[in-house]
Amino acid sequence: MSDILKMTCLELRDAIAAGEIKSSDAVKAYFDCIDAAEPKIDAYLSTFKDTALERAAQIDDKIAAGKKPGQLAGVPVAVKDNMTTDFGKTTCASKILANFEAPYNATAVQKLLDAGAVILGKLNMDEFAMGSSTENSGIKQTRNPWNTGCVPGGSSGGSAAAVAARMCASALGSDTGGSIRQPAAFCGVVGMKPTYGRVSRYGLVAFGSSLDQIGPLTHDVKDAALMLNVIAGHDSRDSTSVSEELAPRCDCLADIDNPFEGLRIAVVPEYNDSAEAQTAAAIRRAIEQYRSLGAEIVEIQMPHADYAIAAYYLIATAEASSNLARFDGVRYGHRSENVKSYIDVYNMSREEGFGQEVKRRIMLGTYALSSGYYDAYYLKALKVRNLIRRDYQAAFERADALLMPVSPTTAFKIGEKTDDPLQMYLADIYTISLNLAGVPGISIPCGMDSNGMPIGMQLAAPAFQEQKLLRIARMYETASGITNLSPGEN
């Protein structure tokens, strides 16, 4: 593997800024890797080699001319294909958007570009971010770089696989119920879901609007901090992005290597009991690692944790059924060729354009919102959501962060869980409640199972305390030395 590919974003950025490495050479190295690995990984839905090389050359010229190059100047990155770009296509891995060319950049994408990043391409995902394995992509199946018979996780499976296989230096994903953290865990990379409202959702194709959040997938915790520094901030085009008064901007990199004094870590004993044995053992080792770093370990209860999946699949699908109503075959997206009436335009275009999981969720959400069922399902779920948020508030009165598994298992085999949608949903048990509570979470590697597949652990912190969360994660990463992993080299 070329030395460039082994570098973190931060190392690469500094080397490019210092003139030691040219961005053009970095981009070429990454495309060589894409050319070699893509046939077996299938992470990308589209790549932009020519424009990426042009842009890298411009950045190199800028640096040679002594201009201020930007926080990510020359660094090759990629984005999940549910974020709009005013170049190439934005498909959401759906047949209904197979040819969609967005007229504007998502704010997070624009911020990457403004920081000097070079976007290599758009990454595969479960269709409209609905899934936990990327098996619901309407276009292709991404494979796990650690074992190509296994799923990369989902829905940001392309993002996690591309970072793990060194097909980009870092990537953006989106997380509605674990869609950044779980694939990060399955692929042995770092994945962070910021606090709801921290990153603008403008240009992120909406799935569950009160849950969706964009975040980074990276080789280490410092890169996650760097990426968050770039993409965070208020955006007047997203009314749910928080103001500077509510969530002051912070430099997450500034004190990231300062260990946290008086750290208290909360753990939920029941969570470990419900995880598969090797995952539970890895989490216990992580707890001991923190203890040896001087942290106080506090056992807590999350009394409503068992209800999170039920509440989530009502709320998320209700919001999805409304959000996906815009795909009607009229103004953009697929329109059926066989229509006789205007109503056919809706019914048939949607029938032909959406995959099974998307249809199932639209149906469930429509049912939960329909007359006679609204109170029993949707409203009830919103009340339970409030109880779940209170669990988190109580937990954070006793601890700085919560440590738990990301997923009950490591990456499973492709096809193993596709027959039973409910079983697939149940595996989201540890990630989903953070989205319901709106708090930030990070998934970092904490070991390998006996099959050589990465195990992830998850840390959660109170809303808008990403800076603290990243410092706490960094303490573990530094102490354990489990960082910047590469499949086949460990």
Binding site: L246, Y307, S321, R350, L364, Y367, V384, G438
Partner: protein, 102 residues
Amino acid sequence: MSSKITEQQVRDVALLSRLNLSETEIHDFADQLSSILSYVDKLNELDTEGIEPLAHCLPVSNVFRADEPHQPLDREQALHNAPHRDEEFFRVPPILDDNSGA
């Protein structure tokens, strides 16, 4: 499988969802949605009397901004992805039939 939701209900919800479904899908969704709905019934174990519904987690509501004109998408950009267009319009089948009296 208990039929929490019948095939007829699936057809009704499909109509509301503007989704044509095949007979196989109607059959499968009746089973799958029944199973999911049986699972979510566990929410009824919780007493939520007096608990406020939480639609989103931010302590903000009614976000306003200054009413200032911005440059909108130009017409050509807006029509760029149209499946069918007629000059400067989106083209769709007639929405009123000949006997509508319109």
